[in-house]
C-alpha cells in the first residue's frame, strides 16, 4: 500500500501545501483584514494568476516572455465588452463597426461566462501568435513577445471604436471578489502542476534543459512550446478578466503596459524571477514576497513613520529587488525547486556557477566544454 501511496502523496504535496497557504491567507484577510488588506489580497491573487500563466510557459520552456500582459488586456477587454448591460453599450460604443455590434451588443454574460469568454479570446490570440513565437528563444523571443505587447497596447490605444481608447469603460459589473480570485488561483495552481507533470510539461522541460538533446529523442520543441503558450494565454486571460471586473471597468490600455506606478509587466516578471522561474512554488513564493515588500514600502510612503520616503520608493525597491536577485540568486528564492517533502526540509544550496571541471572532461561534452573552461581565467 505504502509503495503506491507515497509517490502519489509526494506528487500532491507541493500543490496541496501551496493551496493551504493560499486558503490561510484568504481566511486571515477575510476575517481580520480591513478594506486595504482585502484590496491588496485581491490584487495579489490576480497577479498570482498572471504569474502562474507566465510560469506555465516561461518556467517550463525556459523562454522568457514580456508579452503575456497582452493576453491580460485581451481577457479584460473581451470580458468587459460581453458583460456590460446592453442599454449601456448602446450609448458608450456608438462607433463600433457593425460586424461586432450585432453580437457584442446583445451579449450580457454573467461573471463566470464573461471570464471564460475573455480567457477564450486570449487563448485565441495566443494560438494565432504561437507559430512565430515558438520558433524563437533567448533575446529574439524577448523581442518578439515584447512586440506582441506593443501591438496589443497600440491596438487598444488607437481603436477607440472597440476599446474606447484612453477613456475608461462604463458599466462593467464589479464581480471580482476575494473569494473568486482565490478559487481561480487554486484552480491554476493545480493546472500548473498537472501541466508540469504531464507528458507535455515533461517534454517541454526536457527542451528547456537541453534543446538539442530533447530534439534528438523526438521532442517536437515548437509544438510543445505552442501548447504551453496557448494554455498560458488562457490562464493569463482569466487574470485579465478578473482584473477588468475588479475596478468596475476603470481600466485603460496603460493598465496593461509599462506604466509608471503600477507596471504590471515588470511586476509579474519580477515576481517570477525573484521566486524562481522553474517551479510553481517559485511563482507563488515570488508573488507573496514581492507583494509584501512592495506593499510595506507603499504603506510607508503613505503613512510615514517619522521619516517619509518620497512617493515612488516602492517602485524603485521593486526594480532593485529584481536586479539584486539576478546578482545573488539567479535561480530565485526557491532555487527553482518545489516545496520539499516534509522530511526533506533543508536550506537550499547555493546554485553552483557552471558545471564542475571534472564533469566537463567526460563524455562527448568534453570537447565542447573544454574550450569554454579555458576562457574562464581570461574573463577577469
Amino acid at each position: 500500500m505504502r509503495r503506491y501511496a507515497e509517490p502519489l502523496a509526494r506528487r500532491i504535496w507541493p500543490p496541496l501545501f501551496l493551496s493551504v497557504v493560499l486558503v490561510i491567507t484568504w481566511a486571515l484577510v477575510d476575517s481580520f483584514g480591513n478594506v486595504v488588506y482585502r484590496d491588496t489580497a485581491v490584487k495579489m491573487f490576480i497577479t498570482l494568476i498572471v504569474v502562474l500563466g507566465l510560469q506555465i510557459f516561461s518556467g517550463n520552456s525556459g523562454v522568457l516572455s514580456f508579452g503575456h500582459v497582452a493576453f491580460m488586456a485581451v481577457g479584460a477587454y473581451a470580458s468587459a465588452l460581453l458583460t456590460i448591460p446592453t442599454e449601456i453599450k448602446k450609448f458608450t460604443y456608438l462607433t463600433m463597426p457593425h460586424f461586432l455590434k450585432f453580437w457584442i451588443f446583445p451579449a450580457q454574460l454573467n461573471a463566470l461566462e464573461g471570464t471564460l469568454a475573455g480567457a477564450g479570446f486570449a487563448l485565441l490570440l495566443a494560438a494565432i501568435t504561437a507559430p512565430p513565437i515558438v520558433r524563437l528563444s533567448g533575446v529574439a523571443a524577448g523581442i518578439a513577445t515584447l512586440a506582441i505587447l506593443v501591438i496589443v497596447h497600440e491596438f487598444d490605444y488607437q481603436t477607440s471604436a472597440i476599446t474606447r481608447g484612453t477613456s475608461t469603460q462604463i458599466g462593467v459589473p464589479t464581480t471580482t471578489t476575494l473569494l473568486s480570485t482565490l478559487i481561480w488561483s487554486l484552480i491554476f495552481i493545480a493546472v500548473a502542476f498537472v501541466f508540469q507533470q504531464s507528458k507535455f510539461g515533461l517534454r517541454l522541460r526536457a527542451s528547456r534543459e537541453n534543446e538539442r538533446a530533447a530534439r534528438s529523442v523526438g521532442v517536437r520543441v515548437p509544438i510543445e512550446r505552442a501548447i504551453a503558450w496557448t494554455l498560458s494565454g488562457f490562464v493569463v486571460g482569466v487574470g485579465g478578466a478578473l482584473y477588468g471586473h475588479y475596478f468596475g471597468g476603470t481600466f485603460g490600455p496603460d493598465d496593461f503596459f509599462f506604466n509608471n506606478g503600477f507596471n504590471i509587466v515588470l511586476l509579474t516578471i519580477a515576481m517570477l524571477v525573484v521566486g524562481g522561474m522553474t517551479s510553481v512554488t517559485g511563482a507563488v513564493v515570488g508573488c507573496y514576497f514581492v507583494t509584501v515588500v512592495f506593499e510595506l514600502f507603499r504603506r510607508w510612503e503613505v503613512n510615514g513613520l517619522g521619516v517619509t520616503p518620497p512617493p515612488g520608493t516602492a517602485n524603485l525597491v521593486l526594480a532593485f529587488m529584481l536586479i539584486t536577485t539576478l546578482f545573488l540568486r539567479p535561480k530565485g528564492i526557491t532555487g527553482g525547486r518545489e516545496i520539499p517533502w516534509p522530511t526533506e526540509w533543508r536550506l537550499p544550496r547555493r546554485p553552483s556557477r557552471g558545471p564542475s571541471l571534472r564533469a566537463r572532461f567526460s563524455g562527448t561534452q568534453a570537447a565542447n566544454e573544454a574550450a569554454a573552461s579555458a576562457e574562464t581565467p581570461a574573463t577577469e
Binding site: F66, L136, A319
Partner: protein, 324 residues
Amino acid sequence: MATAIQYILDSIAYGSLFALMAMGLALLFGVMGLMNFAYGELIMAGAYTMFFTRSWGWLGMIVTTLIVVTVLSLVMELVAFRPLRGASPVTLLITSFAVSYALQEFAWTDVLGLSHRFNGATIGTGPQKGVQPYPWLTQQYQVKGVLVSKLEIITVIVTIALLVGMTLLLKRTMLGIQLRASTQDFRMAQLVGVKANWVISSAFAITGVLAGAVALLYVFRTGLVAPDMGQGPLLVAFVGGVIGGLGSLSGAALGGFVLGVIINILNASLPVKLHSYSLLFAFMAVIAIVVLQPEGLIAFRRGGDWLERLWQRIRKPATEGAGA
C-alpha cells in the same frame, strides 16, 4: 515641389536622430549581447540635465549634458551590468528593463530634493515646460522656397560627424579594433588579450556620448522634458535597429535612419487615422524579421559590412587587413 523637398529635409534630420540611437543600441548588442532598454532613460537624463543647466549658456549646457549622460552610462554598466558579466542575454535584457524602470521612477520621484535647488523646478511632477531652444537654432533660411532651420542642418552635420567619427574610431584606433573583435567573438577576443572590462566600459562610454548627442538634438527639436520621454524614441530606434540588423553598426544605423524618415513622411502626409497604427505595423514587421531574417534586412554578415566594403574600396584593397 518645394514642400516635398522640405519634407525630405526634415525627415533626414529626424531620421538622423534614430540612426544615432540605433547605432548606440547596436554597439552594446554586438559587444555584450545586451539589448539595452535603459538607453531611452539616458536620453531622459540628458534632457533633465539640459533643463537644469539651461541658464548656463549653450556651451556649458552641451558639455555638461554630454558629460552627465556619459558618466551615467558608465555608472549603469558598473552597477547593474558588470556584476552580471557572463550572464545570459535574457538576464541582461531583464536587468536593462529594471534599470530603465528604476531611472524612470527616480525621475518621477523627488528624491534629491531637486525642487528646492533649481529655480523651483520640480523634477517629480510630470512633463515640464521643457527647454526653450535658442533663437539662433530655430532660425530658418529660405532657399528657393524651401525653409530650412539651422537645427536641421546642425542635426545632419552632427550625425554625419559622429558617423564618420565612429567609423574612424572603429577602423583606425586600437580600441576600435578591440571593439570590432569583441563584436565578432567576445571569448576569442579575450583569449588574445582584449580586456573585457575596458572594452565594455568603452562601449558604454561611446553609447553615452551618442545618447547625449541625441538628447541635445532631440530636446532642441521638441523642447519636451518628461520622465517617460525616452520610451517613444527608444522603441522607434529599436525597431529600426532590428530591421537594419543589430549585429552590425552600419546596418542598425541605416535601419534607424530609414525608419525615422518613413515615420516622419507618413506622419506628415497620411491622414491621422492611418498613421496612428504605424507603430503597430512596425512591430508586426519586427516579429516577421526576428523570425524570418534575424540578421536584419540591411546587414549581411557574410558579405561583410557595406560600410566596411566602402571603406576598403576607398583605401584600396592593398592596405586592407588593419583590423582583420
